[in-house]
């Protein structure tokens, strides 16, 4: 029975299976028939239509340049923004006779040879299908005049484009920097980074300062429009657009008004000032005088302006704060004094008798002179700082030895990059035996050490380094990396990234020793001190130290007969922080060929501190350009 059932079922199974196979086979044929119908419809009936489409199938991807991020000071004052302006643009592929068209256009709006050159250059770069600007920043009248005649110019159109603008012109020009045309060098760099695509169709990039350093943040992401064009290359419609992502906004630690006050305080002097907030490392002001107008660079600087800037004996393009190296002179003394105390080589009560010179013991009796011919008499550490006694520090340097100085004072950042967020910083020089051996293949002499004691000899520092070291001193040894940018605001989410002021290191210092140096520096600005005049009636505890440095010309500076006298004068230096009991600002000032620190540098510090701590405006006030008339983004 079992067997019969199995046989019957087996047969039935097979029958049903084959039936179903047949059904499936039919379904397969049906499906293929559907395909065949579709093929027939597309390939035969609609062939002409698709044939034309294929012939005309030209889809171009046109990049859309993102809005560049804004740069704002700590109070929201705009330092760099974008404004829209009309540009007259030509799409070469749509224009028959290009020369004739440009000729005709110049009858309507002014087209300078410079405009033509730029147009030619962009044309050679081969963006055939895109429109190329022939004239930028048309005024309303020009725009209207063209609009009326638009019909005569197929392939020419007016577009509103964004331009970078620096409303405060020279103020903080070295900090903000500028954007400029992308050079071949830049292109190579972008290719290496793999970011060249993000620069398609744009012709500018950050060149100097924050514009350069924060290029990635400010730039944003280029968008794309997929434009369908017909057989003649005329764009028919936009099929898809990927919106560009605007660049992020930077908010600085810098106070634009303080910066302006500081720049004005320099008057006609060349030089540099760096002010740092000790508790964060935020750069409040960073001056390099003379400055320049960054707006000149935005659309490509013309040869005259370029020559004027580049060949000026004042070197306005050099960022003296980061790149100028100077002997710190007597401003080095507080650091030396602290080193002496910390390393136990000097007790506060230890006194020398200063005859006005220092004789190097055992060194063949070589004599090092004090700046004060008759000497300062009996000098202890306090008086040595207050009156800037060289003899005291000659002896201290000898007792410490160069390697101890190099090691201890190195903690204050001398001879190293501070790590500020602007490119181009130089590292100065805090010499050591090892350094001299390497550099000159020479032994270090004791005499070399003596000069270091008063910040001369091989010793070199940038104004930034001096300010950095002063801020560390003001901050009881806590080290914050100097930074100009305090916040980055995401353009999409408005999320704010704060550049955290984390202490990078902490120099272990005895509070008592710091207080001794600090008290002496306070007395520098009081009657009897070297900066007494600058400190007169200060309404806060004002700690400072004057300095004078023998001239060592900046790199590349040229000899010029008429200015020899002025340019051989000593540089004036001053470091300060205030209020000394709760430092809110620490600064370093260098006035090139300013003579003595007390007479030119210290008064600048007083103006800056008065403004920053008391809000006292220096005479004569000059209004700073604010946001009002500018359209942002």
């Amino acid at each position: 029975m079992n067997r019969t059932v199995e046989l019957r079922d087996h047969q039935r199974e097979l029958y049903y299976f084959q039936l179903r196979l047949a059904i499936v086979g039919g379904a397969v044929l049906c499906a293929f028939f559907v395909l065949l119908v579709r093929f027939f419809y597309v390939q035969v009936i609609q062939h002409e239509y698709y044939h034309t489409l294929a012939e005309q199938n030209r889809i171009f991807i046109v990049p859309v340049v993102p809005n560049r991020g804004l740069i704002l000071d700590r109070n929201g004052v705009v330092l760099a923004h974008n404004f829209a302006a009309y540009t007259l643009e030509i799409t070469p592929s749509l224009v028959g006779d290009l020369e004739q068209t440009i000729m005709d256009l110049s009858g309507l709006v002014e087209i300078t040879p410079k405009d033509r050159k730029r147009f030619q250059k962009l044309l050679e770069e081969g963006h055939d299908f895109a429109s190329i600007p022939i004239r930028t920043r048309l005024n309303d009248e020009e725009a209207a005049r063209f609009a009326v005649n638009n019909y005569r110019f197929p392939g020419v159109e007016i577009n509103a484009r964004l331009f970078r603008h620096y409303p405060n012109a020279e103020i903080a020009s070295h900090v903000v920097g500028y954007i400029g045309r992308i050079s071949d060098n830049d292109v190579d760099k972008l290719r290496n980074q793999g970011t060249a695509a993000n620069y398609s169709a744009s012709d500018y990039i950050g060149k100097v300062g924050l514009e350069q350093r924060y290029e990635t943040e400010l730039r944003g992401v280029t968008g794309y429009e997929h434009v369908e064009t017909d057989a003649n290359g005329k764009s028919v419609r936009t099929l898809r657009s990927i919106l560009p992502v605007s660049g992020n906004n930077l908010t600085l630690a810098l106070d634009a008004r303080l910066q302006q006050v500081a720049e004005q305080a320099f008057g006609e002097h060349r030089g540099s000032l760096v002010a740092i907030e000790p508790s964060t490392g935020g750069v409040l002001a960073l001056v390099s005088k003379p400055g320049f107008d960054p707006n000149l660079f935005v659309e490509g600087i013309d040869p005259q302006n370029w020559d004027a800037l580049n060949n000026s004996p004042d070197h306005p393009l050099n960022n003296r704060a980061l790149q100028g190296v100077y002997p710190p002179g007597s401003t080095f003394k507080p650091f030396m004094a602290l080193t002496g105390l910390e390393l136990g080589k000097r007790k506060p009560g230890f006194t020398i008798s200063d005859p006005g010179y220092f004789v190097l013991s055992g060194g063949g009796g070589h004599v090092y002179r004090d700046w004060k011919a008759g000497g300062h008499g009996m000098v202890d550490l306090h008086k040595a700082i207050v009156q800037s006694c060289d003899t005291y520090f000659y002896g201290l340097a000898q007792d410490l030895g160069i390697d101890a100085i190099h090691q201890f004072i190195g903690q204050f950042g001398f001879g190293k990059f501070t790590g500020i967020d602007i490119d181009g910083e130089v590292d100065g020089l805090l010499p050591s035996q090892e350094w001299k051996q390497k550099r000159f293949q020479q032994k270090w002499f004791v005499g070399d050490t003596i000069s270091i004691g008063v910040g001369q000899g091989y010793m070199l520092a940038t104004p930034l380094q001096l300010a950095f070291a002063t801020a560390i001193l003001a901050n009881d040894g806590r080290v914050f990396r100097p930074h100009v940018v305090r916040q980055i605001q995401d353009s999409q989410t408005d999320a704010i990234t704060i550049i955290e002021p984390q202490p990078r290191a902490e120099i272990p210092l005895s509070t008592e020793n710091v207080k001794r140096v600090r008290d002496a520096m306070i007395d520098v600005t009081r009657p009897g001190g070297t900066a007494a005049w600058a400190g007169l009636n200060a309404k806060y505890l004002f700690a400072g130290k004057t300095g004078t440095a023998q001239v060592i010309g900046m790199k590349g500076q040229k000899y010029e007969e008429s200015k020899v006298n002025e340019r051989h004068r000593d540089h004036a230096l001053f470091i300060a922080y205030a209020p000394a009991d709760d430092p809110k600002i620490a600064l370093a000032i260098l006035v090139e060929n300013g003579g003595h620190g007390a007479s030119t540098a210290a008064p600048i510090a007083r103006q800056v501190l008065d403004y920053y701590l008391l809000g006292k405006e220096p005479p004569p006030p000059k209004p700073i350009a604010k946001e009002e008339e500018q359209e942002n983004d």
């Binding site: 087996h10 199974e13 299976f17 093929f39 199938n57 889809i59």
Partner: protein, 364 residues
């Protein structure tokens, strides 16, 4: 001697299938040469793939089927474990979690399931031959759905579709009642909103684009529009080999893999499409004949499922390229560039050959 060796080597190779496969492979290479911008490198690479896949086909053809029925369950279990592994610790490539990194190599377990699912179902139904009850079908359906869900959430819509199809074919050929079929259709229709909510945005977009490709001509509709233009501009006789402008002007994406049919259709026209469809139909026909004559339920179901899976590949690919099906990643069998699909397909063909050439052994 040599003749005898040769005869031994081809003993289990079905001549009809072999001839059709060879013809399709050659057509694939010719099209690939054009689609790849006349790259010998690409063609050589594909020839190496073909050699490897043919070897696997030969091995499959020589393995008696009762060996295969023994590995059905282990293979399925291993595949399932690997899929779970992918879900837990898979590598994410292009936003999809499809690969499992074993250290020395990367595997895509969903490919394994294309074979393992029909194999397991055929084995399972074979055990209950003649007394299949509804509960057997229910369990069978569960065995299909579990891996399919795992694959669908990777997400890999194309593979999920193919595995579902392979499983469904076995269920159908095993005699799933028409009532249930209709019921399934209704349930399927009712669960569409649920499925819709499970789809990823890009998958929804693909479905929407299918309904109206012009709504997103350069986004999800771009593939379809460009391939349809290629097809249509090819016309009845085609533009001729190496003369397809769509393919050569970079308008067509993925033109050596999933969209190679557009290149073919542009250059060889509707005439070429007819030739290709006839070859596919002959393969399918031969497969159905083998299924109809297969000795056991296991081999019958397996042969039927393999054949219909092959059909699904061909139909879905040509359907998506010509714009009547949504764009899912399914290659054109034996034509598209790529080793994985070749191995899967030729392994299936090898099984068909084995089913055919070993049938007497089973019967006696």
């Amino acid at each position: 001697m040599i003749n005898r060796l040769l005869a031994y080597l081809v003993k289990h190779i079905d001549r009809y299938l072999m001839g059709l496969v060879a013809a399709l492979l050659v057509m694939g290479l010719i099209t690939l040469f054009s689609a790849s911008g006349e790259s010998f490198e690409r063609v050589t690479g594909q020839i190496i793939n073909i050699c490897a896949a043919l070897t696997i086909m030969w091995i499959a053809a020589n393995v008696p089927l009762h060996y295969l029925s023994r590995i059905a369950l282990p293979l399925y279990v291993v595949g399932l474990v690997l899929l779970v592994g992918v879900a837990v610790a898979g590598e994410v490539v292009n936003g999809a979690r499809r690969w499992l990194n074993l250290g020395f190599t990367r595997i895509q377990p969903s490919e394994l399931m294309k074979i393992a699912v029909p194999l397991l179902l055929a084995w399972y139904f074979d055990r209950y031959e003649a007394i299949l009850k509804t509960r057997n079908f229910v369990l069978g359906a569960v065995l299909v759905i579990v891996p399919v869900l795992l694959i669908a959430r990777q997400p890999d819509l194309g593979t999920a579709l193919l595995v579902t199809a392979a499983g469904f074919y076995v269920l159908f050929l095993a005699g799933l009642s028409w009532k249930i079929l209709v019921g399934l259709g209704l349930v399927g229709g009712a669960s569409l909103p649920f499925l819709w909510s499970m789809l990823h945005d890009y998958q929804r977009q693909r479905v929407l684009t299918l309904l109206d490709p012009s709504q997103d001509p350069l986004g999800a509709g771009y593939h379809t529009i460009q391939s349809t233009i290629a097809l249509g501009s090819g016309g009845f006789f085609g533009k001729g080999w190496l003369n397809g402008t769509q393919a050569h002007l970079d308008f067509l994406p993925e033109r050596t893999t999933d969209f190679i049919f557009a290149v073919y259709a542009e250059e060889f026209g509707m005439v070429g499409n007819l030739v290709l469809m006839v070859l596919f139909l002959l393969v399918i026909g031969r497969g159905l004949v083998i299924a109809a004559n297969a000795p056991t339920l296991f081999t019958r179901l397996l042969a039927g499922a393999i054949t219909l899976t092959f059909f699904t590949y061909a139909f879905v690919n040509m359907g998506m390229v010509s714009g009547i099906l949504p764009v899912v990643g399914v290659p054109l069998p034996l034509i598209s560039y790529g080793g994985t699909s070749l191995v899967t397909i030729l392994f299936g063909i090898g099984l068909l050959m084995s089913i055919h050439t070993h049938r007497r052994l089973v019967q006696t």
